[in-house]
Point group: C2
Chain length 327, copies 2
Amino acid sequence: MERITIKNVAEEAGVSVTSVSRVLNNRGYISDELRNKVMSAVKKLNYTPNEIARSFFKNETRSIALIVPTINNPFFSELAFYIERELANFNYHLFVGNSLNNSMNEKEYLQMLDEKRVDGIIVGSHNMGIDEYDKIQGNIVSIERRISEKIPMIESDNYRGGKIATEELIKLGCKNIICISGNKNVDAPANNRVAAYSDVLKDNNMEEFIIEIPFSESEEEKLYRLNKLFHSNINFDGVFAGDDLMAKYIMNIANENNFNLPSDLKIIGFDGTSLMQNLVPELMTIVQPIERMAKTTVEVLLKLIKGEKVKDVYTLPVKLKAIPTSK
Amino acid sequence: MERITIKNVAEEAGVSVTSVSRVLNNRGYISDELRNKVMSAVKKLNYTPNEIARSFFKNETRSIALIVPTINNPFFSELAFYIERELANFNYHLFVGNSLNNSMNEKEYLQMLDEKRVDGIIVGSHNMGIDEYDKIQGNIVSIERRISEKIPMIESDNYRGGKIATEELIKLGCKNIICISGNKNVDAPANNRVAAYSDVLKDNNMEEFIIEIPFSESEEEKLYRLNKLFHSNINFDGVFAGDDLMAKYIMNIANENNFNLPSDLKIIGFDGTSLMQNLVPELMTIVQPIERMAKTTVEVLLKLIKGEKVKDVYTLPVKLKAIPTSK
């Protein structure tokens, strides 16, 4: 069985082998004329290039998938923005999938990874169990989720964030500090924020009060529960909120209930996206290094793809954004 | 030249032709065992299936690319969220590319469309000229951008939005209404908001005052220019802002300058994303039907892909979100 080779195609098209290869691999500038010549020859000879076969079985796709709970959230949209920009620098395209209310999405992308239809996956959220992830061979990096020991994780320093926030609230004179946590059953490093909050309160002989409001709840549910909190008999003069949206909701409800902010109630959020900092400049928050998290994620994933060694966990520093009036 | 066929592969693997086809097309549930058998046979016989060749030349990829200025913006992240969800229903995956500060992204996706590496493109932003788009053959739908007569557009009813907003400000007693517009040189239907503003003011014998602040400017530049406006000798008691972020910036600056809101100054934004409505409930705005825009976009694109007829322009209704205190 004699195979048609790239040489035959080059001869038929009247161009060089390099030119044929460039067209077939979409490398560099390719004129319409060149593409037409090569494609006509390819079709005439019924040539199925080895590159295609190779790409089908194991070659690179230059595509990465990012799975987030929802892109419609300032933290994840800023993270996705920087990840896409960074990947574009390395000539990769980015699929974005929302996993909230759609666990199929996650399964499908994992299947695509398995079938080499994407070169790697960035997991910013997962519904599937750790067992299922353990079975998967492939280039996976997670952000703020400890999925398995085989999958490197990029996180911000959640414990330190929780510590700084709680200490700041105490410094500002708060006596009763509430902490709004996400879902404690999810194995997320974000739980370390709550651990730090507890530790700091214990050190200061203060009582903790943790309210669990899962991220996956609708905004309406979150607002309803926060409203209920304000009409309960719980007294509080400080809140360490789960994220900046939650912090702003609490500010709004406090204003509606005639609290004087920040004198009656001090609130510290988490995330510090540029959007929230621009929109709500009076918001105190723990700023995650989102751009750096994105860059580190891409760096680690590309290393995995190249078969290079990577660390288990990358913990990036956070910082307090205090507001002038609170000093 | 005798070609290896799918039948040879099936025989070699000891499975049915249907099973081989399923593995090669990634259709349905495929056990690891089946995949291994088929792949071993494929490799042993050096089989390059016709499907791959076909897919290379014209087959579907089940991938769509969305180009937005930046995903890191509430309007575009909400739009992307709904587009992704809708596409997932039809078994398509979504690439997201940011074109702001990266015009290469747009070019690359158009090239991918040309090379059939994506099945379609949704353009929510473009840097390239109309001439270049006219040359492209392929399934393209635009959102809020009139690119060419060959490319169907989904828009919200911008003129009506501008009309409702301006009339509401007049109804609320405003005498000097400013309009913040985007870049007037971009051929965007959003310019119709400004046209409506002008028409309504003319009808009411009021003077117009349009300030152009392009979307592509950094948030810092926008804030700087809005601050300057408040320290100029321009008098105004009403603002029709370009979008909700701009509206909130103006609210913040007005508060800093001891304006009493809304009695001293009425502000109406545009977009009405769920994020901004939840975060800033006191914001008056023109609500675009973002979910419906996303659904219509996907519907039109899938029709194009199937070769069905579509309309030139789809204009979807907007509505005013007034706030109780301003009534």
